[in-house]
Every structure is written in C-alpha cells, then in structure tokens.
Symmetry: C2
Subunit: 228 residues, 2 copies
DNA sequence: AAAGTATACGAACAGTCGTGCTACTTTCTG
DNA sequence: CAGAAAGTAGCACGACTGTTCGTATACTTT
C-alpha cells in the first residue's frame, strides 16, 4: 500500500490544527476561533492553516466533525459494547457524564457549548451542530426503547419523555459544573438519572447486574478523524 | 422633583443601547457584541456609545444587569405574587418556561446563552453571569423548600435534587427549542415538571387549586433598569 | 529528467475591532 | 450672563480579522 508522503504530512497538521481548534472552541466558541491565533499556537503560518481548510466556515465544520469522532469514541461507542437493555441505558448515562466530567474538552462538552453558541443563528454551522444534537437525542431514545422492547422498562413508560429527562440532567450537570466549578452537579445528575431509570424499570428492585461500563483514563483516542 | 434634562437624555440612549445589546447578545453572545454595530443600528456614533459605558466589558456587565431586570420582571417577580407553597413552585416553572417560549429575548433565555458562552472563561463577565445563575438556582430551591416547610411537599424529598431537576428540564426545553425549533420541548418539560412536583407532593392527588399564574402578552416591561 | 501536485510560507489586501482625543451642543448652576 | 457638566460627534490610532496572491519546497508520476 503506497502512501503519499505529502498527504500524510498534510493529514498530520490538519489533525493537529483540529485538535487545538476543538479545545479552543469548547471554551471560546467556534466563532472565537481565529486562524491567526491557531497558526501562532502551532507555529504555522496563517496562510498555511487557511489553505488547509479553504475558509473559516470549513474549518468550523471540520472541527465539528472532529469533535463528533471524539464524542463517539468516548460516549456512544463504549455504550454499544454493553448489551441492549437497561444496563446499556445506564452505561450511556455514565459514559456521557464521565466524558463531561473528565473534561475531554477543556470547556466541558463541545456540543453543549457550540450548540448554545449557534442555536439561534442560521447557516451551515448551525445545521451541523443541530444535526449532531439530534443524532444524540435519537441515540438516547433508541437505547431506552430497546430496553422497553426487551421488557426491562415498563410498557407504559413514555420513552421520549424519559430520554428528554435524561438528556436534560446530563446537559444541566455539564452546564452547572463548568460554569460554577465543582462536581456536585454530577452527583445530582446521577441521582436523578438513577431515579428516572429505576422508576421506569419493570421490577421494583432494579437489576444491579451490569455495572455501568466506564472508559479508560486516557484522555482521547480518536481512531479515524474524517477531517476533510 | 427636578430632573436634569441631560441625564434623562443619556439614560434614554443608554436604555436603547442596552435593549438592543441584550437582544443581540441572546443570539450572538456577549462577545459577539460590537460597539460599532450597536452604534450603526441605533444611528449613533461609535464614540458616543463607547463614552456611555467606558469600555466593552462595562457594556457587557450593564447588559447582564439589564437582562437581569427583564428576567425578574418576567419570571421571579410574578412568581412571588403567588402565595408560598406548591402553587408558587408550579407558577415558577410555568413563568420560566413561558419567558423562554415567548422569546422575550429573540435568542431564547439570555442567561442560558451567555452562561454557556462564558462558562469556562475567567473574568468579571463570567462572574456576573455565574452569579445570576446561582441566584436563580437558589430561588428555585427556596421556593421548593417553602412548599416543604408548609407541608405541601413530603418531608423525605431532597429539595436540592428536586430544584436541580426542575432547573435541568427548563434549561433543556430552552436549548432544544432554540436549536431545533418547535415547541415540543416545552411540552416535554412541562410533563417532566408535573411528574417531579406531583411525585413530591404530600397528597397523592396534587391540589389543582391554584392555576399557575402567567404574565401578560406584553413583550417587556422593565420598570427599573439599573444600567450604571 | 520533466511535469504535475500538495503543503507551507511571507507579504499584502480591505475591513472591523476597541480605544483615545478633540470639539461642539445642550442643559443646569451660580 | 458666565461657567461647568453631560452627552454626542468626528477623526485617527494600533491591533487583529479572513482572504488572496505569488513563490518555494517536497513528493509522485510520467
């Protein structure tokens, strides 16, 4: 398999730029990104960074894709390793809270920050962020519905409402913790999630069989970053 | 009461600037505010706007105070007109959701947007936004505790957790609605809040006596804007 | 060896940013 | 009436923005 040395070099710098860009954007926002500052931080030329993406908007979109890979590596993928049911639902909650709490991005959840930043603006960046949010909501809902289909959640439970509540608790934990500091919000969110899931479980004594599966301490491990 | 014509004139323009500034900031953020654009929108000179606040940071802080007045006029003040207890707690939820849903600020809740924007940054603006968030959390918790002290919420209820959950549902409704459009998030949040409050109520049949009190259709009515 | 391509650089573009200085108008005080 | 005070305007500054251009280097393909 012959590899083009120029391409691997470009891919490496592109990756370094996006790694830095997603970190910055989680704190200062995607609009707070500046090509010049990015170039200075990485000791590259401004025009070099610019040429690699073509425009600032393309850089922002690439950063969103890159952050999506990191999110998947830390939240959704490890969750899918747990077999469907209430155990997977609990694992999802824990993986998500852990991803926020461990500050995979220095500013907390990348998509919470950028979602709030672009919520009321039109454009391609808004659409990309909104789509990522929708995808995760669907993922939560599907995970809950699986558990219901298996019979581990009561049939009369509104899974859309349950998913909304779990989503709300996670968002609030991230928001409160980053804004005010401290880990108390995560304790509250875990308690709330336990109540919600436990209250929806079929047996009054929820099956504590499968402990929610965490992820290693490694900060990041994005395998495939499609940063076109 | 003799009034200084120069002062009332300045106060009027200051107010016009802050009205515009809070609207813009709820969509584009406090960092997205630009003195030049503000001046152009209001047909004032850039230096005139600048002189009125002294610095951009002071403008941002004044905008936060102004938005705080609008928030109080729409959420906390009308809530306090309901007598303490579970009725006031329900009114708080409804007033808050209504304030977000009616888009008192075009970008949804001002403090959600700016809180997310400045959550991970240091400085006076962060502190002001965080303090506003803390004050509202305390307000929710106090309202719930009142209801518990009166005996309308069960004694074994953790009011801190209840307040956190209600706060989370409101935040999520605002976030989802602004980002994705539609009013379904408010329906879900109302359902969740009803479950939380109803489940914490002392009687299994919650007292539907006091209907949550809404606010008039008028968009804003800030009485006293301390815009120093 | 020649042609073509991708990365990266340096300089410069026009525009906007926050800020400071000066001058003028309006209003209040004495 | 004079003088002070507050608001507003005009102008210019240095710094930074995204973007464009021309060019040098490294690599692959012919």
């Amino acid at each position: 398999m012959p590899v083009d040395g120029r391409l691997v070099r470009g891919e490496a710098t592109r990756r370094a730029i996006l790694e830095r860009a997603t970190d910055v954007a989680s704190v200062e926002g995607l609009e707070g990104l500046s090509i010049g500052r990015l170039a200075a931080d990485l000791e590259l030329s401004k025009s070099g960074v610019f040429a690699l993406f073509g425009s600032k908007e393309e850089l922002q979109l690439a950063a969103i894709r890159f952050a999506g890979d990191i999110f998947a590596d830390n939240v959704t993928r490890p969750t899918l390793e747990v077999e469907p049911g209430i155990g997977r639902l609990r694992a999802l909650c824990e993986n998500w809270l852990g991803y926020s709490e461990r500050r995979i991005f220095p500013g907390g959840c990348f998509f919470f920050h950028t979602g709030a930043e672009f919520d009321a603006r039109p454009g391609r960046v808004h659409d990309a962020v909104a789509e990522a949010g929708t995808a995760f909501s669907v993922f939560i809902t599907r995970t809950a519905r699986e558990a219901q289909d298996i019979g581990e959640l009561r049939a009369d439970i509104d899974v859309s409402l349950l998913a909304f509540e779990l989503h709300a608790l996670g968002q609030a934990a991230n928001a409160d913790s980053v804004l005010h500091g401290g880990i108390e919000p995560y304790r509250l969110a875990r308690a709330g999630m336990r109540n919600r899931v436990g209250g929806a479980a079929s047996t009054s004594r929820p099956p504590m069989a499968s402990v929610p599966q965490g992820v290693p301490a490694a900060r990041r491990w994005p395998g495939s970053a499609s940063a076109g």
